[in-house]
């Protein structure tokens, strides 16, 4: 059974989605990620979707869900590396992912997370 690896980088977690997502994989990822945030005490999650070339409403919702779950567990989610075609598709689908922070690449996403850590727990300052 394949699963999506969750890498730990300091106090953040890095999830790189490289395969086609399907329902079961997505549910498993939600499971694994929430557990990992809990056990490792992560303060931020980076979801790298730069390898994803197609997206549907299901995946869009899944990303929003994961972000919401992480939020409740006091970890911030940054979605990084979205491809232009994916962004256009999501907008056309009306999935604008409000409340999900985004960054151009993992590097920038990490900076964003660090800055928000430095600024303290003020969520408003997180949205650049």
């Amino acid at each position: 059974m394949d699963r999506i690896p969750i890498l730990r980088m300091g106090e953040f977690l890095l999830v790189t989605i490289q395969v086609d997502m399907h329902d079961e994989l997505a549910m498993r990822l939600q499971d694994d990620l929430t557990n990992a945030i809990q056990t490792k005490g992560a303060k931020g999650v980076l979801i790298d979707i730069s390898a994803m070339e197609m997206v549907d409403s299901f995946i869009g919702r899944m990303i929003a869900d994961i972000s919401g779950m992480a939020q409740i567990l006091d970890a911030k989610t940054v979605l990084v590396g979205m491809q232009p075609a994916v962004a256009i598709t999501l907008v056309e689908l009306g999935l604008t992912l409000p409340g999900v922070a985004t960054a151009l690449n993992v590097d920038r996403g990490m900076q964003l997370l660090r800055r928000s850590m430095d600024d303290g727990d003020d969520d408003a300052s997180f949205q650049r």
């Binding site: 907008v91 920038r108 650049r128």
Partner: protein
């Protein structure tokens, strides 16, 4: 039976027809001087008659859509295409066929030898035939013209969306002209692509050159801004003119969450500030 006579008359007097017609074409082409030489005209007339003659002999004068007229039609299509590209007007192009009327009528008058009924019949048949050919020419002229316009539109579309780099990490997109769905799509795609290539964090869309903003255009702008945000870049819209600001409010368009500035300078200043770049005066 009558058709055979037209065809006979045509066969008998073909050399005359060609000579008179060429002369007419050359004299009528006075306005077209420089675009078409008289030798070219003569050649075109000869080629046309070479194709026209067998088609007339086929006795299918009522219907020019048949296979007998295939070559004539192809010739006329080619002729109108070349004339479009050479910058001829539609009436100048149609005149090529219509000028043949006079010549053929004169010849038919000579050949019918006073038989008024037959002459009238022939005139009518020839008239209908040449009208159809003329209309076909105009139709092909129009089609080629539309192709040219479409191509130019396409080229314009590609030219009109330059993405420029203002600073390291800051891109600008000066939009000029009316925004429609097709254009916005191209603009959005090229901007997003450029964001990925240059890893820029801020994009400024300047709409100084956009004459009007309606709900649809605003919708497109909001979509672009949202797509940019999803990719992790910020977007500033600049060059909002007073009238446009009024229109947007009157239309009830919600631009919350979109940073707008009155001009490009202000937008650049904000972008630099967000990037942590500051200037001091010496």
């Amino acid at each position: 039976m009558k058709n055979t006579t037209i065809s006979d008359a045509f066969g008998k007097r073909r050399a005359d027809i060609q000579a008179i017609w060429t002369k007419q074409l050359t004299s009528a082409a006075g306005s077209a001087k420089g675009r078409l030489s008289s030798t070219e005209l003569e050649q075109q007339a000869r080629q046309f008659l070479e194709l026209f003659h067998p088609a007339v002999q086929s006795n299918q004068l009522d219907d020019i859509n048949g296979s007998e007229w295939l070559e004539v039609r192809a010739f006329l299509e080619d002729l109108s295409r070349r004339r479009v590209l050479a910058g001829f007007s539609s009436d100048e192009t149609a005149l090529f066929i219509f000028s043949l009327k006079r010549v053929l009528f004169d010849i038919l008058k000579d050949e019918s030898a006073g038989d008024a009924m037959q002459m009238a019949d022939h005139f009518w048949q020839m008239n209908v035939l040449l009208d159809k050919l003329g209309l076909h020419t105009v139709k092909s002229y129009q089609r080629t013209r539309e192709e040219v316009i479409n191509r130019q539109q396409h080229e314009l579309l590609e030219l009109s969306t330059p993405v420029v780099k203002l600073w390291d990490g800051i891109l600008a997109l000066p939009m000029i002209g009316t925004l429609d769905s097709a254009r916005t799509q191209v603009v959005m795609e090229s901007l997003l692509q450029k964001i990925v290539e240059t890893e820029s964090q801020i994009a400024i869309i300047d709409i100084t050159g956009v004459p009007t903003v309606d709900t649809l255009v605003a919708q497109h702008l909001i979509k672009t801004v949202t797509a940019l945000r999803l990719m992790g870049a910020d977007c500033i819209i600049s060059g909002v003119r007073p009238q446009i600001a009024q229109t947007i409010v009157h239309l009830g368009v919600d631009l919350h969450g979109v940073t707008t500035k009155a001009n490009l300078a202000d937008a650049l200043a904000l972008a630099l500030k967000r990037s942590g770049i500051a200037f001091t005066k010496k």
